[in-house]
């Protein structure tokens, strides 16, 4: 077993002012080895983005972060502003959901990629940085990269913009890439292309990746390990295979049932009924209980912890009973 690239322990993030605080992320633990792909899956509001932004200290000052995120032996959470800046964009690259709003509308794509390069390399000339940016655009298969550099974000199509965003995230050869719903804002046909591109580039370069999505289908072919989050916690985790074929958690089952099937075009998606609780109104006991068709009395009082049952680690007190055969 190689030394982990990133080791997160007890990551907890709370929002609010004074006495009124609520936690968006509650005690997140995971490790990521170099070159591996971790998928984080969960519905909107489950705390996926907040967890990632916490690690990079990108949240507003109203957020309080505790726990640790040890990257190459140093804790990102307690790092000073200068040090974390050297990590951001250099060691850890980020791709965001909506590439239109993620680019500055009044600067050219080239300007923004070149800036990313210059920020971490004070010795490189502007010309060399521009050449590097051109080759980055070529790497992400953007045609006529030289001309494209001089264009503004609104002159790119959605897919091209996300390619450019990937190019920018890879500009300084990061060891870790955080892709926060990189395909959610894109057309279905473009989604697959972007995922293929991401997989190809990170594999080639041995970049570890955290791939965030609310669609299990996105991580299916890509992730080595999958974490399912609900209401700020991990409710199930395991290898991609185990999650798909040996899941024990009713929520994961719901997500699998909600996956768009490529075969059977007319099939109606079975979304999980109800909505996740807000961080301010989380119920006691298992957070999923109000929506869970397996919930029993004990579920509403005691919050189950993660434990190994079968192939996965699950936070469900009825995990043993919920064997593969049982309907979701």
């Amino acid at each position: 077993m190689t030394a982990p690239l990133l080791e997160v322990t007890g990551l907890t993030t709370t929002f609010g002012t004074g006495g009124k605080r609520a936690s968006a992320v509650r005690g997140l633990d995971f490790t990521l080895e170099p070159g591996k792909v971790l998928g984080i899956v969960g519905e909107s509001g489950s705390g996926k983005s907040v967890a990632m932004m916490s690690m990079l200290q990108l949240l507003a000052p109203s957020a309080k972060v505790t726990g640790s995120a040890i990257y190459k032996g140093r804790d990102l959470i307690t790092m000073g502003p200068r040090d974390i800046r050297k990590i951001r964009g250099k060691e850890i690259g980020c791709i965001f959901q909506d590439p239109l709003s993620a680019f500055n509308p009044v600067k050219t794509i080239g300007h923004q990629i070149v800036e990313a390069i210059l920020l971490h390399d004070s010795k490189i000339s502007k010309r060399a940085a521009t050449e590097h940016a051109t080759s980055l655009l070529a790497d992400v298969a953007i045609p006529q990269p030289g001309e494209r550099l001089g264009q503004y974000p609104h002159e790119f199509s959605g897919g091209m913009r996300q390619r450019a965003m990937i190019a920018m995230a890879l500009a300084n050869g990061p060891n870790l890439l955080i892709a926060d719903e990189p395909t959610t804002a894109l057309d279905v046909t473009v989604q697959a292309q972007i995922l293929d591109l991401l997989r190809k580039l990170t594999e080639e370069r041995g970049i570890a990746t955290i791939l965030i999505t609310h669609d299990l289908g996105v991580v299916a072919g890509m992730a080595d390990e999958i974490m399912v989050m609900y209401a700020g916690r991990v409710v199930e985790r395991g290898s991609a295979e185990a999650i798909f074929y040996d899941t024990r958690h009713p929520y994961t089952r719901g997500l699998i049932a909600a996956m768009p099937k490529l075969d059977g075009p007319g099939e109606i998606l079975r979304a999980i009924e109800g909505t996740p609780p807000s961080i301010w109104t989380r119920p006691p006991g298992c957070s999923f209980a109000p929506r869970c068709s397996f919930a029993i009395e004990a579920c509403r009082t005691t919050e189950p912890g993660l434990r190994r049952v079968g192939e996965t680690e699950t936070a469900c007190m009825r995990a043993e009973e919920l064997d593969k055969g049982m309907p979701a």
Partner: protein, 337 residues
């Protein structure tokens, strides 16, 4: 682009004719009588004199005829003769416009520089004491009446401390510098007449500060709120995620976006002040367009009122054009055609 600008410039005279027509009609509709300015009071009772003067100024013609005359003269570039100064309105304006422009330009420079500075610092240190002080200063600037701040500053700096000279553009006995711009500071500098330059600048200082303070208020509040809005956008998070330091995030990413709405307001503030600097001009005895507007309105001096209206409208139309161009320059998503 050039075609666009040309087209816009060519429409300006047409719009001005419309504005002039409306101004003409409006001034005819008022109940007052311009004869008061034309006929010496003791001759008012002599119908012959009144009729002669009416005929001399064309006031005896019916309205449509006067309108046609007026517009015809305008088309030839003649704005008529002022009832009060008895000089061509264009001469009056040519003399007074540079004074106003010099004052307004100086005030805009003060207001923009100080306002942007305060807006930036306020946004950077939002909700701290620094922010509070900056916002307070800006709020005072846009809410304290100019006649009050003007008189107070004049009293403190000119009367008590004697740091600045009195009112007017120059000391009483100083000959205005010869020059093409009509800005005494620039004309004196171009002629390398440094004593006059210093004098003109010191006369300009207080009125420019007073007027500029009110501009500061507008600019600072707008820059602050616009910056805060920009700072909440996704591209700011991207910039930080790239490793950009905070000052770069603020100046390099938030500011260029935040300035887009500010440009529009700056353009209109400038145009507004051309005729709207009345109070400042009155307090500092500044011989500009604003005080000309007031005196011509008071005596129903139609030609002068028309002239001032045309100047004001031109200022707005030009400011509008420049603003649109600046807007397109600052915002690549806009295409002019």
């Amino acid at each position: 682009m050039l075609k666009y600008i040309l087209r816009r410039i060519l429409t300006i005279p047409l719009l001005l004719l419309g504005v002039a027509s409306v101004a003409f009609m409006l001034s005819q509709m008022t109940k007052g009588d311009p004869l008061a300015a034309l006929v010496p009071e003791r001759m008012m009772s002599d119908p012959a004199v009144v009729a002669a003067i009416k005929a001399q100024w064309g006031l005896d013609e019916p309205l449509p005829v006067r309108y046609v005359y007026y517009m015809g003269n305008l088309l030839r570039g003649d704005m008529g003769t002022s009832f009060t100064t008895r000089r061509p309105v264009s001469t009056d304006i040519a003399e007074r416009l540079p004074a106003t422009l010099e004052l307004v330009v100086a005030a805009m420079i003060v207001g923009t520089v100080v306002g942007m500075g305060i807006g930036l610092v306020s946004a950077r240190f939002r909700n701290t004491a620094i922010d509070g002080a900056g916002r307070g200063f800006a709020l005072l600037g846009s809410s304290v009446p100019i006649f009050w701040s003007g008189l107070i500053l004049l009293y403190i700096f000119s009367v008590r401390l004697k740091w600045t000279p009195g009112t007017g553009r120059l000391d009483a006995r100083t000959q205005p510098p010869e020059g093409i711009t009509g800005f005494y500071t620039i004309d004196a500098a171009l002629a390398a007449d440094w004593p006059v330059f210093v004098q003109a600048l010191s006369h300009l200082l207080l009125p420019a500060l007073v007027l500029g303070w009110s501009v500061t208020g507008i600019v600072a509040r707008l820059v602050r709120s616009s910056l805060l809005e920009s700072l909440g956008q996704d591209y700011i998070r991207t910039a930080r995620a790239k490793g950009a330091p905070e000052h770069r995030v603020l100046l390099g990413h938030a500011l260029p976006n935040a300035l887009i709405p500010v440009l529009t307001v700056l353009g209109f503030t400038f145009a507004y002040l051309i005729t709207g600097a009345v109070l400042t001009e009155a307090i500092f005895s500044w011989p500009g367009i604003g005080s000309y507007a007031v005196s011509s309105a008071r005596s129903l001096d139609y030609p002068a009122i028309g002239g001032v209206t045309i100047v004001g409208a031109t200022a707005f139309l030009l400011a509008n054009l420049v603003t649109d161009l600046a807007y397109a320059w600052a915002n690549p998503r806009i295409k002019l055609q």
